[in-house]
Symmetry: C2
Subunit: 294 residues, 2 copies
DNA sequence: TTGATTGATACTCTCGAAGTATGAGTGACC
DNA sequence: GGTCACTCATACTTCGAGAGTATCAATCAA
């Protein structure tokens, strides 16, 4: 009946994600027995079984599944509370803009130039971390490729452009002006099919960290990788030995600004307006490439 | 740097709401010194002053103000997590519908009749508790008079009708067909001006608990109180010694269904559809009184 | 059958949170 | 202006929840 503590939720999330008490305990930097007890106590307290354990396997019950979702939300809310309180105390109210490096479509600089209301602090992260950063208060606003449906976030589309594939300039396929996914079968493609727009899932744990575009471009140039990217990124990085070709059957990608729907910050609103204005101008300058959404 | 515990947030909210360590401690059923220490430790942990204390007065700093908002959200999220986990374990998935008693506009019964997908559990509360109930997981969906702007809730309007005043039938004003607020000056009005639509604030602590309409009607009949109410409520409770008269300069009231925007429950969606359908039918039956919003 | 793996139990210990007693600063009132 | 009431902070003590260690028990694989 009594309230849950965030500690209990953190423990639960760790176990629910690892599905293994030992590894979860390790991740939490604690011993396994107290973790087992904490979970047992949590289940007693809720009056609900969260895991089905055999001595060899741990699985989530339906109640556990729903708690995992809600617990993440709650932990984010707690983190956001402390983050924002810390920040509110600082007199220089800088706006924190999260963005995946190199994926801003060349809009970042003009947006910042157009927005001089408050100092802007940049948070450059992997694309999968942009939405969490908005949730837990690390960022006030983010620039991202939309592939999300999150009622707690509002967003405004800036650009919608087709997706392209980066090829070695010498590749036979580079002779064509447009390609289809079927033309690429057998090539080494990034993460799965590359059909996903936003790359919102974290990278597979052991995967080589492809930090920035220059690494990727090197791999593409040597022919050891194909890479999908929105047209606005391709436009921004012309490279002599790389050809960008439109992929007809990939859905177009949309670049958007997003912010917590609960945000009442005038600074955020101003930055969003600046971003929309800059995007419109950019589209007006290059009507042959870009297509605006209001 | 380490994570906040909900205990700390509960303590903080208590002090922030009472602005008095002694009373807050009493409310938390604990002694005052540990509470003072806990708040001090919280401030140290955040590296931020939350309160300005003199020995005679306690006030929130700007950081404290923002933390109060975020802490309430976070505590609600934690409560919702535990509520929903508890409920997910129950095999009979009943939908919980929150509603202020007697304010359903006669729609409650037909809605429940039209919606036979899942058993419905009714949660009857004061109007100020409907939105919190949606937030903390006590209810899945609510029927309420809209006067809220909450990005975490979605809603669908059912009825929009003018607001009326309940008078003794013998009152001279009852001779008129419509009134204006100015006609009522000097009378004893409910909570402030009665101009507020939704009554989303909790009642003043010491106020007589006007639990249900029959009590109110008694007071109105004896001429000791005037009462404002939406037309749909007046229509539902014809009483011989009470006259309802339209108040021209009160904004109309809207009855709506609302639910957490994050809800993906098909049961909620089905109930909302049923409610909208029932409301439409009701409006069609009484076109002279009601005015639908799509 | 045996060994490896993995979660649960028993027991102990420690640190942090709560209580009590008291101090100290501030405003009110005579 | 001195005294009192009020209120938050500090000092010290107590106690229990949570963490650690050692070990058991159950399951699966060979």
């Amino acid at each position: 009946m009594s309230d849950l503590e965030t500690r209990q939720l953190r423990y639960f999330v760790a176990v629910a994600e690892e599905l293994h008490f030992g590894r979860a305990a390790e991740r939490l930097a604690m011993a396994q027995p107290p973790l087992s007890r904490a979970i047992r106590d949590l289940e007693r307290q809720l009056g609900v079984d969260l895991f089905v354990r055999t001595t060899r396997q741990v699985a989530l019950t339906p109640a556990g599944e729903t708690l995992l979702i809600d617990a993440r939300v709650a932990l984010d809310a707690v983190a956001a509370a402390s983050q924002r309180a810390r920040r509110a105390a600082r007199p220089e109210q800088s706006l924190r803009l999260a963005c995946k490096a190199d994926f801003d479509g060349g809009l970042l600089a003009p947006i910042l130039a157009a927005y001089d209301t408050t100092p802007v602090e940049l948070l450059l992260t992997g694309p999968w971390d942009l939405v969490p950063a908005l949730h837990d208060g690390r960022a006030d606003v983010a620039l991202l490729a939309t592939a999300f449906d999150d009622p707690t976030l509002d967003s405004e589309a800036l650009l919608t452009e087709p997706r392209m594939v980066a090829l070695p300039a010498a590749d036979p396929l580079a002779a064509r002006t447009t390609l289809r996914l079927a033309d690429l079968t057998g090539r080494r493609l990034p993460n799965g099919s590359g059909a996903e727009t936003g790359n919102l899932a974290p990278p597979p744990p052991g995967s080589p960290a492809m930090r920035d575009l220059s690494q990727i471009f090197n791999l593409v140039e040597t022919g050891s990788l194909l890479w999908f990217l929105p047209a606005w990124v391709a436009r921004q990085f012309p490279r002599p030995h790389i050809a960008y070709r439109l992929v007809e059957d990939l859905p177009p990608a949309t670049l958007a600004v997003a912010w917590p729907a609960a945000s009442r910050s005038p600074a955020v609103a101003a930055l969003v307006r600046a971003a929309v204005r800059v995007a419109k101008d950019a589209v007006a300058d290059e009507p042959h490439v870009s297509q605006a959404l209001a």
